[in-house]
């Protein structure tokens, strides 16, 4: 297994780790089939090959240089790679992939490393390919409404560059200030705007991709479609297992004339859920429709003082955007729907400052919850909206049974839940129980007709739950697709799609009750 560290805060670096030497400091690793000697030899060979492609500054291999790369946004899993390469040119990426293909070295690509499912966790015997230096906005075409960018460009930087032309890039993951567009493509990232404007896949036109063999392919086009199979859609959300994206053409949209937000407070979370359905049934597609439960409201209010009603069982934030006349009309209609659905209070932001204040609490909800507890674990699952009330009730029951508080902040419009499980990693066994509760929540999502991941990806984190959502023949089909792109299985191995062997072991954990880690806990 991958090395596990306690604590979720980045920077809390491995007190558990043995001290590492200065050079060629690879230790024996339980996941690695290689002997320590073989790993040292492989590292030496890899580093020598990389130094023939890149200047020395951009090849990292000493332990203290590798340490900052040991995890992505899910810092519960940590692993040092053999080396980190920082190419600055597409040709260098090609040469690096050809080198790794020749040496049989696994490659994990990474942008800003903000991913939350361990998708960019390094491989013990592999190379961490950082695309952070490929960070140019190559071209903005205001007339065609497109931006051609490199993978290391931050999501928000695209909208900032497009703004002078009255345009923006719609998908807005919460981490948009830091996350890169390349990572967004790898995870098919979402955000608040998804219900109306779609996920990353809906906002891409073209990708330049390097295969594991070092071949450069153009997928999609500057036109609205392309001949052959829709490989642009297939690559999007493939978590770096099919190719390395080196250039992206995104679609830009006109900035809406106006955006206006409503805040509704409810005494009953079920009523808030029903209100979401009522808005949509009325033919209105909000630009954002977000819900927070009481623990999340309290945490956010204590943190940012947005003026949230702290006694409410739930609040809904509903943003409408579009033409001025349309927004004026819809605000009145939504207000009426919210009141009829049982809201005890409905506020309309009076001006842009208040609109931003309403959103500030929602956007800061995760760090706000982080202040309440030494650690938290953010889950990501999607459910059909009509099951919302039932699912939240069952999460609350599980939370009580496990003795771990859960705060809920989520994209109510598209049924994408983000339960935050509060725990203390310094309490022995609590991280394991947290992960188990998280797994149960994801299985519940599948049971009610949803999915184990709405926008964060499977990565390392949810690989066992893939066995719950998919049948063996479906997983086998995924592996066959992977092999069509990467026959040697060197791109981001052991992520996203589990082996059938792994599923058999995971299933056994459920079948043989006496082998469960916490046999005294009630099962759901």
């Amino acid at each position: 297994m991958t090395e596990r560290c306690t604590g979720q805060q980045q920077g809390d670096h491995g007190q558990d780790n043995p001290p590492l030497g200065v050079q060629l400091s690879v230790d024996h690793h339980p996941d690695s089939p290689l002997t320590p000697q073989a790993r040292i030899a492989r590292q030496a060979e890899l580093v020598a090959g990389l130094l023939a492609i890149l200047p020395e500054t951009f090849v990292l291999h000493e332990a203290e240089d590798l340490r900052p790369y040991e995890c992505d946004g899910l810092s519960a899993y940590r692993q040092l790679p053999l080396a980190v390469a920082l190419p600055g040119q597409v040709e260098e990426v090609q040469a690096i992939l050809r080198l790794c293909q020749r040496l049989g070295v696994p490659v994990v690509a990474r942008g800003a490393g903000t991913g939350l499912s361990g998708g960019a966790l390094p491989h013990a015997d592999g190379l961490l390919l950082s695309l952070a230096r490929l960070k140019s906005i190559l071209h903005i075409d205001p007339l065609a409404r497109t931006a051609r960018v490199q993978p290391g460009v931050r999501n928000l930087a695209i909208s900032e560059a497009a703004r002078p032309h009255g345009l923006y890039y719609a998908p807005d993951p919460s981490s948009q200030i830091a996350c890169t567009i390349g990572g967004n493509v790898a995870e098919n990232a979402g955000g608040v705007h998804c219900l109306k404007y779609g996920l990353t896949v809906h906002n891409l036109l073209k990708l330049e991709v390097i295969t594991m063999e070092g071949e450069r392919l153009t997928l999609g086009a500057d036109a609205l479609d392309a001949p052959g199979y829709d490989l642009l859609a297939l690559l999007t959300g493939s978590e770096g297992l099919l190719g390395v994206v080196v250039e992206i053409t995104v679609r830009l949209l006109p900035l809406p004339e106006r955006a206006q937000v409503l805040l509704a407070a409810y005494d009953d979370i079920g009523q808030a859920g029903a209100a979401v359905g009522a808005i949509i049934a009325a033919g209105i597609i909000p630009a954002g429709l977000e819900m927070m439960d009481n623990p999340a409201i309290r945490a956010a209010e204590a943190f940012v003082h947005a003026g949230y009603p702290v006694e409410a069982a739930a609040i809904l934030l509903c943003e409408l955007d579009g033409a001025n006349e349309e927004v004026s009309q819809d605000i009145l209609r939504v207000r009426q729907i919210l009141l009829e659905s049982g809201a005890v209070e409905v506020r309309t932001a009076r001006d842009e400052a208040e609109r931003l204040l309403f959103w500030k609490g929602r956007k800061a909800a995760f760090p706000a919850v982080g202040r309440l507890s030494p650690d938290y674990y953010c889950m990501d699952g999607t459910i059909p909206r009509r099951r919302l009330s039932e699912v939240l009730g069952r999460i609350a029951a599980m939370s009580a049974a496990y003795g771990l508080p859960v705060a809920n902040v989520f994209h109510a419009g598209d049924g994408n839940l983000h339960p935050l499980i509060l725990y203390d990693a310094n309490v022995p066994g609590e991280l394991e129980r947290t992960e188990e509760l998280g797994g149960k929540i994801l299985e519940l999502c599948v049971e009610v007709g949803g999915t184990i991941t709405g926008e964060h990806g499977v990565g390392k984190e949810k690989i066992d739950q893939m066995c719950v959502q998919f049948q063996p023949q479906e997983l086998a089909q995924f592996h066959a697709v992977k092999a069509a792109f990467d026959p040697a299985g060197l791109l981001n191995p052991a992520k996203a799609v589990p082996t059938l062997h792994r599923c058999a072991e995971f299933g056994a954990m459920h079948v043989h009750a006496n082998q469960l880690r916490f046999p005294d806990l009630p099962r759901f």
Binding site: R145, L195, L217, G454, A480, F485, A496
Partner: protein, 375 residues
């Protein structure tokens, strides 16, 4: 009429795989001409039909692939919703009143990946696909994607099926995102040349206007606005032009290629280009749709190289046989070598397509050769 033929179809495909017998997948047969000719046993899927679930507040409908498109549209219309990508029917037998008939199936429109005039503003067929159930070339029944808006678990094989024309799997069920129908729409006609129209369409698309279609028929430009009455009227005041009566009929003619422009015996070419690509009247008569991104051209000459040079691709839509509403069987225009229909792929990309085809259909029995000779 609901009918589940999953087991029979899966057994047929499994047996065909064992014997290596190619299968020509057929639903309503309305798009048989769109692609290369497939030699093989006919696998009838039109009988596998019925809406399985539709929850308007979830904005999702799931139906069997053989369900007539018309039946789905009626069910959605009853709840004030629609398929926002406006799929064309291309029915061979339209109803007497000229409206689309009952032949086109859900599976056919998704397999062919066709989208109507709203495409640049509302999205394409693939943008609305949330999940599918398929039979792969091994006869295995598999489900990918789901019935929720956001689902990133596993590879997106559901969207991969869109436009694959059945070469990667037999579609059994499709879950689609649906949207509320706009409260109102209005079509404006403007006196613009084709070149002016392309420029104007692109400038407007960069502004917050409720556009839902924009075309040029060779003489005039037509723009459709859709949304709330207030928004449509405000936009009308900005754009000018004159309102067109029977706008729905006009756009149906564009969508179904039954507009007068398409009633011409010359071979028809579909050029999908960057929306700002310059207008080139020398190629032949043009009908411009998709706000400039789609150019229908009548030409006796193959237009694949021209489309590629302009940054896009071309598809040969064939000739319209005299006295028939539908288009001719493919591969006729300009007598292209080998019955080629779709834009040739670069060798590395074609090789990847072949490996992907083999991953889903190892013995190559599903609609072999329909997209490309070697696929």
């Amino acid at each position: 009429m609901n009918q589940d033929l999953t087991q029979m179809l899966a057994e047929r495909v499994a047996a065909a795989q064992g014997a290596g017998r190619p299968q020509r997948i057929q639903g309503g047969g309305t798009k048989a001409w769109l692609g290369r000719t497939v030699e093989g046993e006919t696998l009838e899927v039109a009988g596998h039909r019925g809406i399985l679930s539709y929850e308007p507040t979830e904005l999702v409908i799931t139906a069997r692939a053989g369900t007539p498109l018309a039946e789905i549209k009626v069910a959605l219309a009853e709840r004030g919703q629609w398929l926002a990508f406006e799929p064309p029917h291309f029915d061979v037998r339209p109803n007497p009143d000229g409206r689309p008939g009952a032949d086109a199936t859900l599976g056919g429109i998704i397999a062919c990946g066709l989208s109507g005039p709203a495409r640049p503003y509302a999205g394409a067929a693939r943008d609305f696909v949330l999940g599918v159930r398929i039979i792969n070339g091994r006869g295995e029944v598999l489900r990918f994607g789901g019935e929720v808006m956001k689902n990133v678990a596993g590879y997106d094989l559901s969207r991969l099926m869109v436009g694959a024309q059945g070469t990667l799997g037999v579609l059994l069920e499709v879950s689609l995102k649906v949207l509320p129908r706009p409260a109102t729409d209005l079509t404006l006609a403007l006196e613009l040349t084709a070149g002016e129209a392309i420029d104007r369409f692109n400038r407007w698309a960069g502004q917050p206007l409720p556009l839902s279609a924009a075309c040029h028929d060779g003489e005039r430009a037509y723009v459709r606005l859709a949304g709330s009455e207030a928004a449509v009227q405000a936009a009308r005041a900005r754009l000018g032009g004159e309102a067109v009566g029977a706008g729905a009929d006009f756009w149906r003619g564009v969508r179904e290629l039954s507009h007068a422009f398409f009633r011409n015996p010359a071979p028809l070419w579909r050029l999908s280009l960057p929306p700002t690509a310059p207008h080139d009247p020398s190629l032949g008569p043009h009908f411009i749709d998709w706000g400039g991104a789609l150019r229908w051209v009548q030409s006796e000459h193959p237009l694949w190289p021209v489309a590629q040079a302009a940054g896009g691709h071309a598809t040969c839509y064939g000739r319209r046989p005299a006295g028939q509403p539908g288009l001719q069987v493919s591969g006729q225009a300009g007598d292209p070598p080998g019955g080629q229909v779709f834009q040739p792929l670069p060798p590395a990309l074609l090789a990847l397509h072949q490996r992907l085809k083999a991953a889903l259909d190892p013995r190559g029995i599903l609609n072999p050769g329909r997209l490309y000779r070697d696929l």
